[in-house]
């Protein structure tokens, strides 16, 4: 683990100590976290709000006789540690036994040395954070005369330290920092308002790019001015990286060993089959330091590793944590994820990316006679069902006519199924970019998508 020396020693000590309280025949997994965060919001040249936050917590998973219980507390006070363990044990007594239950066991895979911290955060003064935020608002407002206001301009930095220890011998601590700028611009022309979002993300404030975030927000808002609602038609869509990364996140959920074992994935029993076009290779790799969700170890404390999910269109395998691996008689892929200390580890993708193609977005667009460049989607949670595969979302962006960008479109939906989309991809761009989510984006061309309008 990179930078291990600066992790508070007590965090790992606390986790190891609680794990050492395991009774004979009992397994314990203890996760301890300590997070600090600063958030600054600017509005009309002033600080609208300044939040200084620190939170700590512990989560304990207890497994005895195949029964699992979980408990957490939002504090690391001594009395809370014993109470939480007691609660987890009591909860386990009421669950039903499952022979595959248990915490992770060291598997000998070494954790990659990742440095996920930026030392510049430590010395970045409060006044600097404030001026950066106010500068972001000013730059957004100044990026284009049609920008009429902002919904919010914010700076956030965070530092997370965590430790996992188990009664089976895992004991590992991690530390990471992050900083980002986000700006939501409003643009106005002839009584019509449009909005756009821009951001910059890095491990520390020194690498943040105010100009890029401001320009992106202004461009995304102003390019939608004059948007019309088109008539319904089936056409080719180009999903921009921001949108394709969200799509990958949903695809990732269907490639999860847990969903497969419980009959909630349309990919079950399809390993080795052609599920996507031959150009498509999908990798989940949290060891890639370019990913903002990179991590040397997963939520159970096992080393992360690259996992090829789809290779040349063929389904290669699923993601596993130690439970789903035992149940499928295979090895964990280091894919345990958890919702902080408030929940036991599940399974999930951590850093998904498609293998980029040869062409730039401009070249891809130049090859389309009638299409729709989608720059934003809405309602992914309400109109997409990763179990059935139904896919329907609100969309906004620009019409493509005869190989060039044309009028902006609004109040339309695009619809297909997840199964069809993977087979209808006609090109993958070369513009891979890591985004503030557990996936990278890349321009993605998909044929035969229904665009519903008037």
């Amino acid at each position: 683990m990179g930078d291990n020396g600066s992790v508070q020693p007590e965090l790992l000590d606390i986790a190891k100590q609680v794990a050492s309280w395991a009774n004979p025949g009992e397994q314990l997994e203890v996760y301890v976290a300590d997070a600090t965060e600063t958030e600054v919001r600017a509005y009309q040249g002033e600080v609208e709000s300044f939040t200084s936050a620190r939170s700590q917590g512990i989560g304990v998973r207890a497994v005895a006789n195949g029964r699992q219980g979980y408990a957490y507390a939002g504090t690391l006070e001594r009395s809370a540690l014993t109470e939480t363990l007691q609660e987890a044990r009591d909860n386990a007594a009421f669950a039903e036994a499952d022979e595959f239950n248990g915490v992770a066991v060291p598997d000998g895979v070494p954790a990659i040395d990742l440095n996920l911290c930026d030392a510049s955060l430590e010395s970045f003064a409060t006044a600097d954070k404030i001026s950066l935020t106010i500068e972001l608002e000013r730059a957004t407002l100044g990026a284009d005369p049609r920008v009429s206001g902002i919904e919010s301009a914010e700076y956030v930095d965070s530092q997370l330290q965590s430790a996992v220890a188990t009664s089976t011998g895992i004991a590992i601590a991690s530390r990471e920092t992050g900083a980002y700028l986000a700006s939501y611009a409003m643009a106005e022309a002839e009584g019509e308002t449009q909005t756009g979002f821009g951001y910059s993300i890095a491990r520390g404030p020194a690498e943040l790019d105010v100009g890029a975030a401001a320009t992106q927000a202004a461009d995304r808002a102003t390019r939608l001015l004059g948007a019309v609602k088109p008539s319904t038609s089936k056409l080719t869509v180009v999903l921009d990286p921001w949108v394709s990364a969200q799509l990958l996140g949903i695809i990732g959920a269907t490639l999860n060993g847990d969903a497969v074992q419980r009959g909630r994935s349309f990919f079950a029993d399809r390993i080795g089959e052609q599920v996507a076009v031959a150009e498509l290779c999908l990798l989940d790799d949290a060891t890639n330091p370019e990913a903002f969700t990179a991590a040397a170890v997963d939520a159970e404390g096992l080393a992360t590793r690259p996992n090829t999910l789809i290779n040349e269109g063929r389904l290669q395998g699923f993601l596993h944590n130690s439970y789903t691996a035992r149940r499928s008689a295979t090895a964990s892929t280091g894919s345990a994820v958890r919702p902080g200390f408030k929940g036991a580890p599940g399974v999930g993708a951590q850093a998904l990316a498609l293998r980029p193609g040869q062409h730039s977005p401009e070249e891809l667009i130049a090859g389309i006679d009638d299409g729709f460049l989608v720059q934003g989607v809405s309602g992914l949670h309400s109109g997409v069902n990763p179990i059935s595969g139904d896919f329907s979302t609100g969309a906004e962006g620009l019409r493509i006519r005869n190989g060039a960008l044309a009028e902006p479109l609004r109040e339309v939906t695009i619809a297909s199924t997840l199964q069809r989309i993977l087979l209808d991809i006609t090109a993958i761009g070369n513009d891979l970019v890591w985004l503030p989510m557990s996936a990278a984006g890349v321009s993605l061309v998909v044929a035969d998508v229904m665009m519903s309008g008037t």
């Binding site: 979980y70 939002g74 308002t193 809405s378 309400s382 595969g389 329907s392 109040e411 339309v412 008037t454």
Partner: protein
């Protein structure tokens, strides 16, 4: 939760840099849940979160800090942090030390629960899950997977501020949900049902979880025969209960004063205007005892209220929290909420609903030549600045020749809020509350309720795949 002396001292520290307003919010929340999946009670989880959030407001700047350390020194440290940022950034020149006097009183008047969930044995909760699982699986051989979740929470809050307010509440919520997967020649389909109330374990005196499970199972089975949803624009009839989500997105968020103040709402500057057809009366009401979005005081200590937002089509008012109301020299409408002590409060909805109209639901359907009937909605999203919103249909049917016909597959509908409000041409007399929801805004989730009678929008765009 904290004694008056300590609160007064904390407020004093928070004001020491010369701010105009300071507030201490203390929360002690205990949660428990149990999950059944794959035919087995998999896991029980319990948790505790306790801490305080301290807010200091000076001019237009808010400083905020939170701590899980409720000792005198922990609170003093958080208060100083919050105070410093407010002062630094508003260039305060005031050095007056204001005295703060929070009176005794504001005692908690009981909890919202008749039967405290913490007094109910875990074995009883687990049995409910098993009953739901059995009922869902007995609903049809197509049911291939069932999960059921039980959850309860007790959230005790205390709010005190430099205006002398001191208020407490004890909020108990109980929730139960069932999700089913049905398998057939057409693949997998899903059905979900949930019930959630701001009451205790007595929820299960009034709700039979096996009925809930059978409805979820039936929904999944029905959808196995669903056709691809249509595309294009057509009349949409929304069944009783579910339509609240439509209004929550189409105009609810746009009536939140924080968005209005930044002109980030299409409804800014429109109070007094006829924004909807006269059939529409929209209310947000945190006082509805037992409902999922109910509380006695909001997270700023203000009593919940019955707020008429649209009266017979005329926009009457927005929803307000303390900061936005103070700036306008008016009272908060009791809509200041936060996910937990770790967040700043902001304007949020509670229980948002449309009042009954006079149409018979069967007449509304019979009067629709062709369109879509949405029996259950599944959440949505809105861009308040443009008014464009989507909502999902998780159970829907075609309407052909004035009759509900075949089921259609899941998808989103899209519309524009101000336009939709003017296209509502029928409102039924069969009001019902919908399913419990969690409303997300700016990264914070809070429990909300909604309700509507059957109603019709003459034109909405259906996001299907069929021509």
């Amino acid at each position: 939760m904290l004694d008056h002396d300590l609160i007064n001292r904390t407020l004093q520290t928070a004001l020491s840099a010369g701010a105009e307003f300071a507030e201490v919010f203390v929360e002690d929340k205990r949660s428990s849940s149990a999950l059944l999946d794959d035919g087995r009670v998999e896991e029980l989880t319990s948790g505790r979160d306790r801490g305080a959030g301290i807010r200091v407001v000076h001019k237009d700047t808010t400083g905020f800090a939170h701590t899980a350390d409720l000792s005198a020194s922990g609170l003093a440290k958080a208060a100083s942090t919050a105070a410093a940022v407010a002062q630094n950034n508003a260039q305060s020149s005031s050095t007056d030390r204001r005295s703060v006097a929070v009176d005794a009183g504001g005692a908690v008047v009981g909890t919202s629960a008749r039967i405290a969930p913490s007094d109910v044995a875990k074995s009883v909760k687990v049995q409910l899950l098993a009953n739901a699982d059995a009922a869902a699986r007995a609903s049809g051989s197509q049911i291939s997977q069932v999960s059921a979740r039980y959850g309860d929470s007790r959230r005790r809050i205390l709010v005190a501020n430099s205006d002398g307010l001191f208020a407490q509440d004890d909020q108990v919520r109980t929730l139960f949900s069932v999700s089913c997967v049905a398998s057939g020649d057409t693949g997998l389909q899903t059905g979900r049902e949930s019930v959630g109330r701001t009451i205790g374990f007595e929820l299960f005196d009034e709700t039979d979880v096996t009925d809930l499970a059978r409805r979820a199972a039936q929904r999944a089975i029905t959808k196995l025969n669903a056709r691809p949803a249509p595309s294009g624009t057509m009349p949409v009839v929304v069944g009783p209960g579910g339509g609240g989500v439509l209004f929550h997105e189409a105009c609810g968020h746009g009536l939140e004063a924080d968005l209005v103040a930044k002109s980030a709402s299409v409804f800014a500057g429109r109070v007094g205007d006829q924004v909807a057809t006269p059939l529409v009366t929209l209310i947000d009401d945190g006082t509805m005892a037992g409902e999922w979005g109910h509380y006695r005081i909001d997270d700023e200590g203000r009593a919940a209220a019955h707020n008429v937002l649209i009266d017979k089509g005329v926009l009457t008012d927005y929803m307000w929290d303390h900061v936005r109301a103070r700036k306008e020299g008016r009272n908060s409408s009791g809509n200041g909420r936060r996910q937990s002590y770790q967040y700043l409060p902001m304007v949020r909805m509670t229980n948002t609903y449309i009042e009954n109209g006079s149409d018979h639901p069967s007449d509304i359907i019979a009067g629709t030549e062709s369109g879509v009937y949405v029996a259950q909605l599944g959440g949505g999203q809105v861009n308040t600045a443009t008014g464009d919103y989507v909502f999902g249909m998780t159970e829907a049917y075609l309407i052909e020749n004035g009759e509900i016909s075949e089921p259609i597959r899941q998808g989103n509908l899209i519309g524009n809020g101000p336009e939709t409000l003017k296209l509502i041409d029928a409102v039924g007399n069969d009001f019902a509350m919908g399913s419990p929801g969690t409303c997300g805004k700016d990264g914070q989730g809070v429990p909300v309720g909604d309700g509507t009678p059957t109603l019709r929008v003459t034109a909405l765009t259906i996001g299907g795949t069929a021509a």
